[in-house]
Amino acid sequence: MKHYELAVKFYKQQGPRHDKALWSIRQKRDKAIKEVPEWERLRQQASEIKDYVIENLQQLINKFIANAKKEGIEVIFAKDANEHNKTVLKYLKDINAKKVVKSKSMLTEECGLNEFLKKKGIEVIDTDLGERIVQLRGEKPSHIVLPAIHTTKEDVAEILGETNTNPTYLTRKMRELLRKEFLSANAGISGANFLVADKGWAVVCTNEGNADLGALLPPLHIISVGIEKIIPNMEDLGVFLRMLARNATGQKITTYTSILGKKTNGKRIIILVDNGRFERLNSKFKETLKCIRCSACLTTCPVFRRSGGHAYRYIIPGPIGSLLAPLSDKEEYADLPFACTLCASCETVCPVKIPFSKQLIKMREYVTKENLAFKLMETSLHSPNAFKIFSIILRLTPKLLLKKAVKEWSKYKALPEIPKSRFIQ
């Protein structure tokens, strides 16, 4: 099923709930960014830092690897998802790991790590509350920061076998269950929000401290991260940390912001993953590499709020997902750049100023095949006389036929009346 079909299904089941929940987060975000008078200057600065990063990526990767080694962290480069998964497996096998606690990482979702490790007999426990909920439901996250936003407290009670639907009660219950997993896991896997090139450090932002438990308790900690997450230095980190949580959820900063260097009670490794990123760097979609995954473009998108994230069928939904998904499978995701009104709320909310409208139009061009009808119409519009003929045909066509020609429109709306005469005859 395509986006427009899944969207109908989702909205008919959810009603306005999902839209309202996300709009209230958008409002919290607006309030939080208005407390920072220099917000628009920060956006400009963040955008320029990211431009610098994508122009100097190889050099920054080299610098990061050298400094991480000095720090005592092993860094492995993985060119694709398969190489990434095999590397993770190798390190887990080395310590004969049976159970892994994982905190939120969109990259491991991108690589299909959970399924891969499951097949190899290793149990993966997602430890982010929202991710654990979708894992227990046998689903994928529907939002990159709020993975279970499509569920209700009743849904959560149901998967936990509880009758009490109080959110605080359910959260505590989940914490109890997860604490046992943390204590018995052989390794922790997490993503990273930023890698600081001139220090060799990884920065992980969470609200639940689950990444920290996974990083600190087990003897092995693996960080899986995309190469574009590198930033030059700690001053740049300051810029992003002021923006990330404010833009994502309206918090000043995430509850836990951990800067991870050498692991003192075991081993920490970082897997730097390419998986098509270098190729994207040399394409007209390179600006998507500026993304810091704050998720504000999803939350603000009026289509996303009504269709839900699963309608996009890709691990990253919403506006940024509509730019990334077709690059992974052009045929399957050709509908996504059109699941958009070009309202530009995404680019206006984006902390690194990704030019979404221009990129989405380029993506529409990328997925669109030549079409004779459009070609004919385009040609005719070069001549006012041919245009006139089109206009006469439009007025002679029976309304029923017109309705059929625009059936997605006429299912829900009346057709506008077409007046007899035009302004320019």
């Binding site: 986006h3 427009y4 969207a7 109908v8 909205y11 839209d19 709009w23 607006d30 960014i33 208005k34 920072v36 008078p37 917000w39 628009e40 009026p302 289509v303 009504r306 269709s307 750049p337 059109f338 699941a339 009104t341 070009l342 309202c343 530009a344 709320s345 680019e347 206006t348 909310v349 409208s357 221009k358 139009i361 529409r364 061009e365 669109t368 079409n371 459009f374 070609k375 385009e378 519009l381 070069h382 001549s383 006012p384 245009f387 206009s391 439009l394 625009v406 059936k407 997605e408 429109w409 299912k411 829900y412 709306k413 009346a414 506008p416 077409i418 007046p419 035009r422 302004f423 320019i424």
Partner: protein, 229 residues
């Protein structure tokens, strides 16, 4: 000052009165306005549908010798601006032109009905004719200023769900967004207006199908009526 009136193709077909009234408004202020007869379409429907087109170059060719090009459609103006043509920076949406160049305000201040302004996305976010809620900049709204005081706006400045090709591909979500927008606007005043007739005929089509009794008028109609009084 030589001014050209751009007549958006969909306005020429669906509501030619908007073009006529825009022309009369500009002439009311003593401006020298002509209407190039050979104009057709700026290319927006093709560009936004993912097709290559040379229509923007044709637009440039037709309009290049004018000092200003004024259009009663912010989505057409956005398209022309985004193409980086020699005419890009002298092409204006009607209210933007009245505000920035003619410098006239509060034309509809004595309008007998309460006006509810729908800020279209192309006006608000692409042309920045007002402050979109996403930004941390001081409040302003040029369209509102041209209309006058006591103009109502929607609670949410989000998209109405038209989106051109979007409305033909995602009929249901387009409808829901339009329905939500109508509900947000309709109890705030007597007449809904905006600078983009595309948003407005989408909202009208929903109002008609759902049986909402509500007046929806393009801004040129309100400005023209106000000048006539």
């Amino acid at each position: 000052m030589n001014i050209a009136l751009h007549v958006p193709c969909y306005i020429n077909e669906l509501n030619p009165e908007i073009a006529r009234k825009t022309l009369l408004i500009l002439r009311h202020f003593g401006l020298n306005v002509s209407v190039p007869k050979e104009q057709t379409c700026c290319g927006q429907p093709f560009i936004n549908s993912g097709y290559k087109t040379s229509l923007p170059n044709r637009f440039e060719e037709i309009f290049k010798d004018f000092d200003y090009i004024v259009s009663p459609s912010s989505s057409c103006v956005s398209t022309v601006r985004a193409q980086n043509l020699s005419v890009s920076n002298k092409t204006f949406e009607l209210c933007e032109f009245l505000h920035d160049i003619v410098q006239i305000k509060a034309i509809a201040k004595n309008y007998p009905k309460t006006i509810v302004l729908h800020n279209s996305c192309h006006s608000l976010r692409h042309l920045l004719e007002g402050m979109p809620s996403e930004l941390n900049i001081p409040y302003f709204n040029k369209v509102k200023a041209v209309l006058g005081s006591n103009i109502k706006e929607a609670d949410r400045d989000e998209c109405c769900g038209f989106g051109g090709i979007f409305s033909l591909k995602e009929g249901f979500i387009s409808y829901v967004m339009g329905r939500n927008k109508l509900d947000d606007l309709k109890n705030k005043g007597d007449v809904i207006t905006g600078v983009d007739y595309s948003c407005l005929f989408h909202l009208k089509s929903i109002a008609e199908k759902d049986g909402d009794n509500i007046e929806i008028k393009h801004i040129s109609e309100i400005l023209y009526e106000s000048l006539e009084r």
